[in-house]
Symmetry: C2
């Protein structure tokens, strides 16, 4: 591992980059222990706080974990799909909100990706997957649900659908796409009528998945996408109204 640092850039950033590269390259094995902060400080010829800042950067990316005590130190993390999903969701959420991504664009991407899971889900779905789907449908049909609860169950339904494809890499990608949409979906006000429509489509999708009609799966997914866009129309209208009244349209 290189220990020389350029003098005109942040030391802590360079150190973090050096260690990160070592981890990515596989030079540091998973669960391996990094040298102690004092030793790293000596090796890079910087002070301990500087090393600590570098380590905190890595910790923020879930690349290492730290442990206090005699046998403590910084250890290389096995990046789990779960952790990565969490991270991906917050990143995706921020991306959508900070870049003022249209509802339409986000919905288009999300359903395009979800559509890609259908062929695999059709051949691999197990009874357990179908049970999860039906459980969420039942939940969505219960009366008295707030919009947020309905929306959360909707997300759970789609996550279960993605899980049915049986590919963890795919699931990871989709988690970001689906969950990041939740804040946008939460802006929708679900009437009893629209809920019934969505539940019906979910049920039809589940049926198609169970009884084996890929074409029907596609058609239902497309219908769901179209209906979501329709529901989202009011958001666009509201936003434009607000934009006109307030700070003007986007440049």
């Amino acid at each position: 591992m290189k220990t020389e640092l350029e003098s005109d850039r942040d030391y802590s950033q360079q150190i973090a980059q050096t260690i990160r590269d070592a981890i990515v390259a596989g030079d540091l094995p998973v669960d391996g222990r990094l040298p102690s902060e004092a030793e790293l400080a000596a090796r890079f010829n910087v002070s301990r706080p500087t090393v600590r800042e570098a380590l905190k950067r890595l910790a923020a990316q879930n690349l290492i974990r730290t442990q206090r005590g005699a046998t403590g130190g910084a250890f290389v993390n096995r990046l789990s799909f779960e952790q990565a999903q969490e991270h991906m969701v917050t990143t995706a959420t921020l991306l959508l909100s900070m870049n003022r991504v249209d509802f339409e664009t986000a919905v288009e991407a999300r359903f395009a990706l979800e559509r890609a899971c259908l062929p695999l889900a059709c051949t691999r779905r197990t009874p357990s997957h179908l049970a999860s789907l039906r459980a969420e449908i039942a939940r969505q049909a219960t009366a008295g649900l707030t919009d947020e609860e309905f929306c959360a169950s909707d997300v759970a339904f789609h996550r279960a659908l993605v899980e049915a494809a049986g590919n963890p890499v795919l699931s990871w990608h989709m988690a970001g796409a689906v969950e990041a949409m939740q804040p946008l979906m939460n802006m929708i006000t679900y009437t009893a009528r629209s809920r019934a429509q969505i539940v019906a489509l979910h049920a039809r999708l589940t049926y198609a998945l169970a009884e084996g009609g890929l074409e029907d799966c596609y058609a239902t997914m497309d219908a769901l996408a179209a209906y979501t866009l329709e529901l989202g129309g009011e958001i666009r209208a509201r936003r434009q109204a607000k934009g006109r009244a307030g700070q003007g349209a986007d440049p």
Copy 2:
């Protein structure tokens, strides 16, 4: 913003979490300036190094940038698609390598997702997109390319293909899926014959995109996926051989 901290957990982590929540919730506007380190230290009742560690955590996630000088400080970053893509690629790469994801699983996910871009790409591709695709094909056909160069061009081709779908959210997702595969693809040894085969499929895909045959696009993509799996077969064989000779099979 809350300023009370639990005494039994890392202060720097709690502070980072507090500020992150504020950013995600939109309480801190993009390009807005955070209080100075000294002020944050006073507000949270901790020392400046502790605040700095918290800020470094946020900087590592591209949530803030810092600037020295009189008008300097920490500013909320507009999370750009580019930055997020970079981040996503390293995360995806680590996920694949650290979790020993099969070549098959990764390829399956990648082509499933890429397949999802085809309908959009078919209707939206511009002459400029097609030119990019053809440029990469030409590059791939040149003699004397190293395997890595060929592989890089392959990635560029697929990125251009995804771009043709004209959806930035989709592009962001796909960048992670496609680029993270590069280390795995680099393990393939491309013979002249396999290169010719790939170039031919790329050309056919580009033609289908240009002349408007979505079905042909799908078919070609599937052929490409199948051929990639075929090429990857040797990797699996090599890995199994190494596994048997060395540390044994996975538990």
